[in-house]
Amino acid sequence: MLRSTFNSWREYLTPAYHTSTFSQTGEITPEEFVQAGDYLTYKFPTWQWLGAPASKQRDFLPTDKQVLVTRRVPSLVRANDYENVAIEEEEDADGWTTTSGPHAGATSGTKQVSAQQSEIEEIDDLIDNTAEDDDDDEQEYTIQANKRFYDLYIHYSTAYRVPRMYLVGFDSNGTPLTPEQMFEDISEDYRDKTVTIEKAPFLNDTTTVSIHPCRHAAVMKVLINRAMSAARLKKEKQDLLKGVKNIGLADSEDTDDWEQLDDTSVDDVQSVVRVDQYLIIFLKFITSVTPGIEHDYTMDAF
């Protein structure tokens, strides 16, 4: 609680900077956050801008663009189980299959069940099968008691100058999850280090788990650089292909092309990763933190 209060004070006290440095530092300005958010909502309409209650408005962002949200993202598998499935297929450098703990995940579910036993009895007592006539539409009711849903929020952190992710989970009944339950959907590598329980700074009375942004800039810088070199490689390949084609087609307008090729400047490569694609790269990173939450991160940003 204390740390969280301290953090919200820091968020409050740190002014927003407005100079763009994203490709060198991995950080973005509020303006770039809005730009990247606009692009995200355009490419993935499941993401939407949201305003904030009057008391929680931040004046350096437009009133109707305070935070990004996507709702009811399904999660069918807990992070533990997900990781163990992945591990089973992994081979080390010598071709040995690693066998570490493929069964560990199976216990996570059963522990919960016993704790909830008394609640289930309590609630079973209230079932009323005579409450209505048969509904023709509900005959084939599929039971997916393990399914969960997440509302994902992306907020701008002024202290770290990066986006920050907040998660609000629901069980298959649409009932809020406890923080402890939500932690089951965070990858083990991050669970004890960078994920904290927070009150959402943009909502009233909503407890969330949040991925702490202290390392985001560094990670984003690496990812952006990687995306840039991938783009550079792709470009070189294309250029090479073009070159080959040009050799074959002597009489097309190739002379211009050749000149352009020699011009492939640093500018060109940097513009391949634009700041408005920042959040799409960010979501790919978040996917590694929350492997079981199936938000749509599939699009290639480039």
Binding site: M1, L2, S4, P45, T46, W47, Q48, W49, L50, G51, A52, P53, D64, V69, T70, R71, R72, V73, P74, E119, E122, I123, D124, D125, L126, I127, D128, N129, T130, A131, E132, D133, D135, D136, D137, E138, Y141, I143, Q144, A145, K147, F149, V168, F170, D171, S172, N173, G174, T175, P176, T178, P179, E180, T196, I197, L203, N204, D205, T206, T207
Partner: protein
């Protein structure tokens, strides 16, 4: 082919229960009468393959603020009631079948007296019954989406290639009461009120419905009351455009089939076990100050 619907699922934010606790302590106290609330239906951000959803949150108890934080045209705001019982015994003792029947006949009255034509969002109204155990931060609650059945046969289905400008504007900027249900006349969207001025002998009509799920050929259960209204008003053939903002929209040609029987009233939400029973939100870990302090160390 019979027309079938996707069942509606409720989502209750923790902030909804927080606000309910406050109101129970400060203003409702021992009052067990139904209180007006509102719910939010997402129409722009609907996940693939998921049932339509109604969300309640803290702003559900406000007058106008519900929905104001969303982007233009992203949601529908629908009316509802919450009936909060003082004891779990009261909650248990309530005759659930009777409660639903009453809600259904109230709805039928609104269809007959024209109120639901002036304010079609009433067709999507919902009920919550609740018992709040404030000491333990436990909430027993049960949603009902009262629904009056009418029997329709799908004559044909066709994809809408491009949603007209007029309809897009309607969904974006008409007020919440009108947004989800409207008439389509000469290719433009118009208020449902126009039904009243049609000659009495009219038996076919072209309407628009804003859907909140992307399940193929199974529009949200919310459509059912709209069709029942039309059948009650004597329409036999209905062309309904199902608008899906984040998916492909389509047109259904429907024909009413009079099967003699009286219409059924359904709508209690089932649990994740498929049973007719309430849900339990145990928020002790989310809002109990003692537990919160433990977790944040």
């Amino acid at each position: 082919m019979d027309l079938t619907f996707s069942p509606i699922q409720s989502f209750a934010d923790a902030s909804f229960f927080q606000k309910l606790s406050k109101l129970k302590l400060d203003s409702f106290k021992l009052d067990e009468t139904a209180k007006k609330i509102t719910g939010v239906v997402n129409i722009a951000s609907t996940p693939q393959g998921e049932n339509p959803a109604v969300t309640v949150e803290d702003s559900s108890f406000g007058d106008e603020s519900c929905g104001s934080l969303y982007s233009q045209g992203a949601v529908l705001v629908i009316p509802g009631h919450i009936t909060n019982f003082n004891t779990i015994e009261d909650f248990k003792r309530l005759d659930k079948a009777q409660f639903l029947k009453k809600a259904g006949s109230r709805l039928q009255e609104l269809m007959e007296n024209g109120d639901a034509i002036e304010d079609p969002s009433l067709l999507s109204s919902f009920e919550i019954i609740c018992f709040a155990d404030l000491k333990k931060f436990k909430f027993f609650y049960w949603f009902a989406f009262p629904s009056i059945s009418s029997h329709w046969i799908v004559k044909s289905t066709s994809v809408i290639q491009e949603v007209s400008e007029s309809v897009r504007d309607w969904v974006k900027s008409s007020d919440y009461a009108q947004r989800g249900h409207f008439i389509i006349k000469d290719g433009t969207a118009q208020a449902l009120e126009q039904l009243i001025s049609l000659p009495e002998s009219t038996t076919s009509i072209h309407v628009g419905f804003v859907d909140s799920c992307l399940i193929p050929n199974k529009p949200s259960k919310h459509l059912q009351n709209f069709l029942s209204l039309l059948s009650l008003r004597g329409f036999k053939r209905v062309t309904v455009d199902i608008y899906r903002i984040s998916g492909s929209s389509f047109t259904l040609e429907l024909e009413h089939e009079d099967n003699g029987g009286s219409s059924k009233i359904t709508g209690w939400e089932r649990t994740n076990q498929g049973k007719l029973g309430p849900k339990l939100a145990d928020l002790s870990a989310l809002i109990d100050p003692v537990k919160l302090a433990e977790q944040s160390v």
